[in-house]
Amino acid sequence: MIATPILEVRGIGKVYGSVIALSDISTSVGAGEVLCVLGDNGAGKSTLLKVLAGVHPHSTGEMLLDGRAIRFTGPRHALDAGIATVYQDLAIVPLMPVWRNFFLGAELSSGVGPFSRMRVKEMRAITLAQLGRMGIDLRDVDQPIGTLSGGERQSVAIARAIYFGARVVILDEPTSALGVKQAGVVLRYVAQARDRGLGVVFVTHNPHHAYPVGDRFLVLNRGASLGEFEKSGIGIQELTRLMAGGAELDSLAREIERG
């Protein structure tokens, strides 16, 4: 990528007490790009995610936002800088209508104090339009969000992050709890977000979900990088082999063939 990436880390590391959770990771994500962070359980994916999301400050290395060094003081800081994170539980309320969920905690209101009134019509219209841009055609934004499928809920959460000013969306295992079809739906929305010029950091342990949509793949193992690969430079079999570290390769290979 020639353009300056939105978010870049150079030799970044994180130490919890005497535990080195992450060491010497360098990667970046630019506009319209999908960076997949792959690794097995305990590889350091969550630590990297928390550093990028501003939950934990990094211990070593440097972080660059639009080419300038930055150190997030907290999740709010990261959010204000346009780095939004969609966690696995999505921060939604199942019994509430889609549009209320979309604006949860950031309701559009007119007036002051106890007399401020929500601009309901506008909120409904924006929700419908924003979801439409993601390719989610809801007939009724008044239906409880709990009635949507897992994939649709995930994409509402992504659309919400985008609408509220995200330039980079970090997705924490967005497909892990989903069935094959639903995972496909989410991947399509990831692609949509990318096409709209967002940077996407897709954290997953599933190379089958990462490969179709990713541009670059950062493979982690035991807190260290096993390398970052352009899609043209690596096949899915090799990616899987790298993640699994050579173990259980036979069964994995069979799984791939069937997939």
Partner: protein, 350 residues
């Protein structure tokens, strides 16, 4: 990648389309069950008793519904926020007794006494809320404790001050007539002599409903009761909102305390005891989920209307009064079952 349309991946997608039909949507509203039940009960007592539909009869059951309704609406808001307030009933007694004691015993100005009583009620509500928010102890337990404390204070305090179990002679307090105009008067409407509390009830229901559905605070209440963790993650001021809800039921307790005080100019020390569950039942009959996150103010008002109609209807029909309790229990069970199915349909597929 798979090509997908909107309905993909969910076998029940067609049902979702059907569910958006306007009539179905109306039927799915939380207060719909209570509305239909109210119609049936109204029809039944209207046909089976002579007194129910007379102007005097209607004014009677409307009045009794109004006092329960004001509390039920405040309790419904709190329940939607995921909490209970068992001290709400005793609070209607405490506030009235305070004003009574301040004025008749210590000669305090009536309006000052009312203001002070309100402040004390709000403080108790805030303490309830703070304890729940800070300690994480279920509100059921915290407010059960407050309930017993208030009950004890109401009885022992009244006896200590007056030597009786009631405070009387409010009508001799300067300014009582002006207070009665606001809280205890009767307004004739279309041949019905309606107590002013009925208008307070209707007004409060309208305001609460608007608050719940059309302000951001309402949104926060639903979110806090529906999924506390999500409410925290989206940056909602969770603590403030929850404490505010407890102060809301306390303030409603004060209002009802004033309405009864100025109606009869006497406060019994036992006022409100045992009514806390009736408020909850009214809210649940009106569509509130016991688990929070779902319900409506109008529903709670309708729940109270049902209760008022049954309470007086049983008297008019000259049945044994004790049937009321059995009826109430049955209604609660039925309402909980209906609400449960609503919750299942409305998808808790989290």
């Amino acid at each position: 990648m798979t090509t997908v349309d909107t309905a993909v991946g969910r076998p029940g997608a067609d049902e979702r389309v059907a569910a958006t039909h306007p009539v179905t949507r109306l039927l799915r509203r939380p207060e719909m069950g209570a509305f239909l039940a109210a119609l049936v009960i109204f029809g039944y007592f209207s046909l089976s008793t002579n007194a129910f539909l007379t102007p005097a009869g209607a004014a009677t059951w409307l009045y009794s519904a109004s006092l329960f309704g004001i509390m039920a609406v405040a309790v419904a808001l709190l329940m939607i926020g995921g909490e209970f307030d068992l001290s709400a009933g005793a609070m209607t007694g405490t506030t009235g007794l305070l004003v009574g004691a301040f004025t008749t015993q210590w000669g305090m100005n009536l309006w000052l006494a009312m203001l002070l009583s309100l402040l004390i009620a709000l403080t108790v509500g805030a303490v309830n809320g703070l304890l729940v928010v800070k300690t994480g102890i279920p509100s059921f337990i915290v407010t059960l404790a407050t309930f017993f404390i208030l009950q004890g204070v109401n009885l022992a305090g009244t006896k200590l001050i007056t030597g009786q179990v009631a405070i009387q002679g409010m009508n001799l307090v300067p300014g009582f007539e002006a207070g009665k105009a606001i809280f205890g008067s009767t307004i004739p409407v279309l041949g019905l002599d309606l107590k002013v509390s009925i208008f307070w009830w209707i007004g409060l229901t309208a305001v609460a409903s608007w608050f719940l559905l059309r302000t951001r605070y309402g949104n926060w209440i639903f979110a806090i009761g529906g999924q506390l963790q999500s409410a925290v993650q989206t940056g909602i001021p969770v603590r403030r909102t929850r404490i505010g809800l407890f102060m809301g039921t306390a303030a409603a307790g004060w209002l009802v305390g004033m309405l009864s005080l100025f109606d009869v100019a006497t406060v019994q020390a036992t006022t409100g005891i045992g009514q806390e569950f009736i408020y909850i039942i009214c809210a649940v009959v009106g569509g509130c989920l016991l688990t929070g996150g779902y319900g409506s103010a109008i529903g709670a008002a309708l729940g109270a209307l049902i209760y008022g109609m049954i309470l007086q209807g049983i008297v008019f029909a000259q049945w044994d009064n004790n049937w009321l309790k059995a009826f109430l229990g049955g209604m609660l069970l039925l309402a909980v079952l209906v609400n449960l199915s609503v919750r299942r349909q409305a998808g808790v597929r989290a």
